[in-house]
């Protein structure tokens, strides 16, 4: 009985997942979720999987993060750049179990200026990577974390 119920629940869950994905596909095609990159446990691997290379540090990428965070569960991050033709902005936290935090896709007409809040497991380097005209540029900064945020 319980096995039966479980099978039914599973079938419904996977079915609705498929419907959801198929309905969304055409609209969300721009934003394909890269599972290899998001599951990578190493920053270099994640960058390679997501962006196909490693970035050059650039003074034109502005990364705004606090010097230290009391609570790693909510660290504010702002990234902006004056570069033209920005395609995406990605965020990495090197010391996290999965370093890739997010990838923001910047369509034409949208400012290359995004803000969000991230979790940090421990004191670590935050890196923002800007992809503009096929080239990768980065800015990085260390954030001291008093209380880790990945388990909370």
């Amino acid at each position: 009985m319980s096995m039966n119920r479980r099978a039914v629940v599973k079938a419904i869950a996977s079915g609705s997942a498929l419907i959801g994905i198929s309905v969304l596909m055409p609209r969300i095609a721009l934003a394909a979720w890269n599972s290899d990159a998001f599951q990578a446990d190493n920053q270099a691997t994640a960058m390679e999987a997501l962006l196909g290379g490693s970035p050059q540090p650039s003074a034109d990428v502005t990364l705004k993060v606090p010097d230290s965070a009391d609570n790693g569960a909510m660290v504010p991050v702002t990234v902006r750049t004056s570069m033209a033709n920005v395609e995406s902005i990605s965020l990495f936290v090197e010391g996290n179990p999965a370093p890739l935090v997010a990838e923001f896709l910047i369509p034409e007409g949208t400012e290359a200026d995004v803000a969000t809040r991230v979790r940090m497991a421990s004191t670590s380097t935050v890196t923002a990577v800007v992809k503009a005209e096929g080239q990768l540029y980065s800015a990085a900064k260390e954030v001291k974390v008093v209380l880790g945020g990945c388990d909370s």
Partner: protein
Amino acid sequence: MAKGIIRVKAKAVGGMTKVKMMAKHTMETGRRTDNTSGERIPARYLQTLQVMHQGKTVFAANLGTAISKNPFFAFSFAAGEPGDELMITWLENTGDTATESVKIK
């Protein structure tokens, strides 16, 4: 999950629209254990977000589990008038998805 998890402030100023949005979501990482049962809490987080204005994507994000609980995003784009609609579509890792709309102020 029911509809209406996203709160948005979108303001049109001089041809630009500034958007601040927050999703009411726990963003379970799949790494936490339940204190009482000792069982691992399964991952449940928003994977993609897409914001459209008049049929054009103005913002899209692919998210991992390191985005904070109740995810917050701010961005702006060069279009939009007060009264225009923004369509926000989110997709959870579980396959749950919804589209919510909000008016620009």
